[in-house]
């Protein structure tokens, strides 16, 4: 059993309590316009190419056994159908302009990597977070992984967009100490427009999950121009009112990922902005008034 993983981040301190290792799975059913990790969206591997670092020296073109790279004007185009992800172009690039996103890991490999930091988990009351992309895509893999982590007595967290068959939640919930559950938009039309899918499954799953699991942190990305308004907050409060949820994370949008979109040769909307601090403070108070524990940021 293997999974496509694009990063195993050590000393991760914003994805759950303490010092953690976050495993980022590749592939997501949602395509959020503001996604910070665009390289996490596709299931398959991808090449990231930084045209600003590239000096068009041609090393990569020469070493590619599949002739997948060609020069067009002052940039390079990689034909992904031809690419075998052997990585010769990455190693030969003297400007570090090329990267591969995604690598196949076996369960043993992931376990070996995350167990390296167990002493830090113990001392900081941290653990391992599965994130992505959407980890629930790899249902058998993560079920087994979470089970093994619990056998090792390691705290586990799953960061999910909620868009999955509820059976998967049922299966993993007993091995999961904490869910980080994203809720993007309450308005379904807007949700479909900005993420590509309906929010009905997501909200239903949240309702059901909160009945069988008592440690769910709600994570709300807030983007000026899309969902950073009071009505949206009020709607969310309404949805979670009778649920067993105690903590809320407000995640203000930032445009740090802009360069990644360029490297993937994808467009990036310029209409999104970071919400002002006063607004965030206000929203924080709105949640706190209802008894939630709120943190701005992860």
């Amino acid at each position: 059993m293997k999974a496509n993983i694009f990063n195993i981040q050590k000393f991760s301190v914003h994805d759950g309590p303490g010092i953690r290792t976050t495993v980022f799975f590749k592939g997501c059913p949602l395509k959020c316009l503001w996604c910070h990790n665009p390289e996490s969206q596709n299931l398959s591997k991808e090449i990231l190419y930084d045209k600003y670092k590239c000096t068009l020296c041609g090393n990569c073109i020469r070493v590619c056994a599949n002739n997948a790279i060609e020069k067009k004007g002052n940039t390079l185009i990689t034909n992904m159908d031809k690419c075998s992800f052997k990585g010769d172009c990455i190693v030969s690039c003297i400007n570090s302009a090329r990267q591969i996103a995604g690598r196949e890991y076996t369960l043993d490999e992931v376990m070996k990597e995350v167990l390296k930091d167990r002493v830090f988990y113990k001392n900081s009351k941290g653990g391992v977070t599965l994130s992505g992309g959407e980890p629930l895509i790899y249902k058998e893999f993560i079920e087994e992984l979470l089970m093994r982590l619990k056998k090792e007595n390691i705290h586990t967290a799953v960061d999910t967009c909620g868009y999955a068959d509820f059976k998967v939640f049922e299966k993993i919930s007993k091995y999961t100490d904490l869910f980080l559950y994203d809720l993007k938009l309450t308005d379904d039309v807007k949700h479909i427009f900005y993420t590509g899918v309906s929010n009905k499954i997501i909200i239903n799953n949240l309702i059901k999950l909160s009945k069988i699991h008592n440690n769910i942190n709600l994570r709300l990305p807030l983007i000026e121009g899309i969902n950073a308004d009071e009505n949206h907050i009020l709607e969310i409060l309404k949805i979670i009112k009778n649920m067993n949820i105690k903590k809320v994370n407000l995640l203000p949008y930032h445009d740090i990922a802009r360069h990644k979109y360029e490297k993937l040769c994808r467009g990036y909307s310029k209409d999104m902005k970071k919400p002002r601090d006063e607004k965030l403070k206000k929203y924080k108070e709105m949640f706190e008034k209802e008894g939630y524990k709120v943190k701005i940021g992860g």
Partner: protein, 790 residues
């Protein structure tokens, strides 16, 4: 202005704003004395009488508002010279005066006195002269090539620390004990009886010397009091006089007298010789807390008064710049800091229980308030240490000037036990200088010099030839292009390593004898267990324990170099040894593809990657096993340390490009920290890699970890750093320290030094003003990886 009270604000201001200068007083008194008495008495007595003469005649200084008294020179920031060890030329003095960094002002008339009085007597009699005359051609070649440095070339062995005895006894008591030992000497059967008598007599005279010094201060304070018109100050001066009536002749009775006692001892040690690492109070909080507790219960002292006294005491350390250094000694230790290092926290050495007390917290408050370079302040963290104490220390450390540094109590004790000390003695152990471990008050643990391990690989790759000096320095181990396996290369490297260490130790053996014969330190001998009982000097192996350290530099650089060769040349055959050697010769110019492979696509130390870390272990083990356990000529044992001070910059400057992609003349790695930019997996991976070596088989390791301020903000930031420390120590790491400054700030400080006068950064086992560092060292600090907390 920093300072808890108006008084300490003023004293700190004087300490930090006075330009260091050379004081010739000591050199002149000593020369006059030697001209008269040399040859009339045995050497230990001569040295003791010389010390007594200095303590009797030197000018005294009681600064305005001072409460703790005594200076090494005529006043704050005046540095005496030690011509019996290193006789400076007039040119040396001009360099000291004119150099941009670590300068000492020298008066023109003093240069004249140096020329007319000091040089004629000491030029051919100084220890430095004797050492250089006695070294072999091989030693001199290696020294010139920067294969190693020599600590005793300009300064005396010291490297030790006070324990609790000076708070339990006065020097009259010590003198009495010494006289009893003299009585016990067996002239009928002991062939060393005559030598022992001379040594013990010298030690008794040294007790007189320090007692006289105290009496003179008492008298001087009364003199000033009689002229003082301000009644409050008059009372203070009389209070100082009363304290000096008690210490150092008798044991201290009050908190203030305890501090004054240590301070007189400190001045004594650093006047007798220019000992490396000056001298340190060691586990200060453990020794002075009982005085504070008693007086507090009696209503004689409160936090406020004790805090002010402690600040006065702290500022005294900062008043003493390190003895002026020149040449390679300046390069290996380019700083005013004299490495007095105070251990706070840890366990109570008498009971083994948690040692954190009210004074431990007060010391943290003082450190935080005064923000001084000296003394180097560290905390010992034990499994028994409360989180509250650890977190308070982290809170200060993350302000970004590297203090306090963190030491692991359990690991320190294990190191000492592994080196053959008893548990009782080990509990009185700690770190001093940078990170060196020893049993305080019981051991001479002398650092002998840094070893340039990366350059030993460079020699191996050139069949023993050194391009820097243009000479065959090493032995012939063959053309590396003929090596058919990595193992053959590693064997050749170990042969060169063995040879260079042999050259170093042969020199050490001679130097140890020179000091034992010509430079007994009878006062230090009074302070160290074993000397009195054995009738032998501190510098002649008289202490209860005797250790000589060689400090291994550049473990990360050498690891990454060997990893680069193993991975690319032998395992993956990406290029040949011949191509690599050509690339190194041309400093990678025209070899960008090779540099890219070794820099960016090769396993490196610092990432918790066993491929590289196993190579580190091979090098660490080989080096340690060649050095550790060898006997020294005066009956001690060799051990290794893994620390650089500023020597990694010097060692890099004598080297060409290296196989790990490091360019010619750039610094090598510091301590056991990863090579700059090589650690890409964050601080937990660094800690894991560093903890793979067996710290407890060394005498100390140094790990620098840099964070940007934003990454450790808030209460969570403190908790995360605390957890990192606890984890590293659970893995038996020895020491960790933090620089918390962003790159932007440092770059700006380089451009506008005038705007960053206060900027202090962690260099090696100490902190320094950023503006005092040479440009290359500044660059190196800027480049140290900024570990992101995401």
């Amino acid at each position: 202005m920093r300072g808890y009270t108006e008084r300490t604000k003023k004293l700190r201001e004087i300490s930090t704003n006075t330009q260091p200068s050379i004081s010739l007083e000591r050199a002149l008194l000593e020369t006059e004395f030697y001209e008269k008495y040399y040859g009339t008495v045995e050497t230990p007595v001569l040295r003791a009488l010389n010390f007594k003469n200095l303590m009797k005649k030197r000018k005294l200084y009681i600064g305005q508002d001072e409460l703790i008294v005594g200076e090494k020179g005529e006043g704050p920031q005046a540095a005496p010279t030690f011509p019996e060890l290193c006789c400076h030329t007039v040119e040396d003095m001009t360099v000291m005066n004119d150099r941009k960094y670590i300068s000492f002002k020298v008066k023109e008339e003093d240069k004249k006195l140096q020329q007319e009085k000091i040089i004629p007597y000491w030029e051919k009699r100084s220890i430095r002269h004797k050492i250089l005359e006695s070294m072999t051609g091989e030693w001199k070649d290696c020294y010139a090539a920067g294969m190693f440095t020599e600590f005793m070339e300009q300064r005396a062995p010291g490297h030790t620390v006070a324990d609790g005895k000076i708070y339990e006894k006065g020097f009259l008591d010590f003198k009495k004990e010494i006289e009893e030992e003299i009585e016990k000497i067996d002239f009928m059967n002991d062939p060393d009886a005559y030598d022992k008598k001379a040594q013990l007599e010298g030690m008794a005279i040294s007790c007189d010397a320090i007692i006289i010094y105290g009496q003179r201060y008492a008298q001087y304070a009364r003199e000033l009091a009689s002229k003082e018109t301000n009644p409050k100050r008059k009372e203070e001066l009389l209070w100082i006089a009363n304290n000096c009536d008690v210490v150092p002749a008798h044991k201290p009775e009050t908190f203030a007298q305890a501090l004054q006692m240590y301070w007189f001892v400190h001045i004594g040690v650093t006047t007798e010789l220019n000992t490396w690492d000056s001298f340190s109070p060691g586990r200060l909080d453990q020794y002075i807390y009982p005085f504070y507790k008693k007086e507090k219960e009696e209503g004689m002292i409160d936090y406020h008064k004790a805090r002010e006294l402690l600040e006065c005491f702290w500022i005294k350390f900062n008043n003493q710049p390190a003895p002026p250094k020149v040449g390679i000694t300046l390069k290996e230790s380019g700083t005013y800091t004299d490495f007095a290092n105070i251990n706070t926290g840890g366990i109570n050495p008498y009971t083994g229980e948690d040692g954190v007390n009210e004074i431990s917290y007060m010391i943290l408050d003082v450190m935080d308030e005064l923000k001084l370079l000296q003394p180097s302040s560290n905390v010992q963290i034990s499994v028994k240490t409360p989180d509250e104490f650890l977190k308070r220390a982290v809170e200060i450390s993350r302000k970004g000037w590297g203090q306090p540094a963190f030491y692991n109590t359990e690991e320190l004790i294990q190191e000492l036990l592994n080196a053959g000390k008893t548990l009782e003695d080990a509990r009185f152990g700690g770190a001093s200088g940078c990170v060196e471990t020893g049993c305080h008050g019981r051991e001479a643990y002398v650092l002998t010099g840094y070893l340039n391990v990366p350059k030993i690989l460079e020699l191996t790759l050139n069949d023993g030839f050194d391009n820097y000096t243009g000479k065959q320095i090493g032995i012939k181990t063959g053309n590396p292009e003929d090596f058919s396996s990595y193992e053959e290369l590693f064997d050749a490297f170990v042969k060169q390593l063995n040879y260079i260490i042999k050259v170093k130790i042969r020199g050490n053996n001679v130097i140890e004898k020179i000091f034992a014969k010509h430079m007994p330190s009878t006062f230090m001998s009074v302070l160290t267990d074993g000397c009195k009982e054995s009738g032998r000097d501190y510098n002649a192996g008289g202490s209860k324990y005797n250790t000589r350290y060689i400090q291994v530099v550049g473990i990360a650089t050498i690891t990454d170099c060997l990893s680069a060769i193993k991975y690319n040349v032998y395992d993956n055959k990406r290029f040949t040894m011949g191509e690599l050697l050509e690339a190194l010769k041309s400093n990678f110019e025209g070899y960008a593809h090779i540099r890219n492979l070794v820099l960016n696509h090769t396993p490196k130390y610092g990432n918790d990657d066993d491929y590289a870390d196993d190579i580190m272990l091979d090098i660490f083990t080989a080096t340690r096993d060649i050095i550790r356990g060898r006997k020294t000529v005066c009956g001690g044992t060799y051990q290794i340390d893994m620390l650089p001070t500023t020597c990694h910059v010097y060692f890099g400057s004598v080297m060409g490009a290296s196989p790990n992609g490091r360019l010619a003349e750039k610094p090598v790695s510091d301590g056991i920290s990863p090579e700059k930019g090589a650690d890409v997996k964050g601080p937990t991976a660094v800690i894991k890699s560093c903890s793979k070596m067996d710290h407890t088989s060394t005498g100390g390791t140094l790990l620098n970890q840099k964070f940007s301020p934003s990454s450790i903000a808030g209460e969570e930031g403190i908790e995360n750093v605390s957890s990192l420390i606890r984890s590293y120590f659970e893995l038996m790491g020895h020491h960790i320290q933090f620089n918390v400054i962003d790159k932007k700030t440092l770059l700006d400080a380089q451009k506008h030094p005038e705007e960053y006068k206060d900027l202090i950064v962690r260099v090696a086992g100490y902190s320094d003003h950023f503006n005092n560092l040479e440009k290359s060292l500044q660059d190196e600090i800027i480049e140290r990886t900024e570990q992101a907390f995401n």
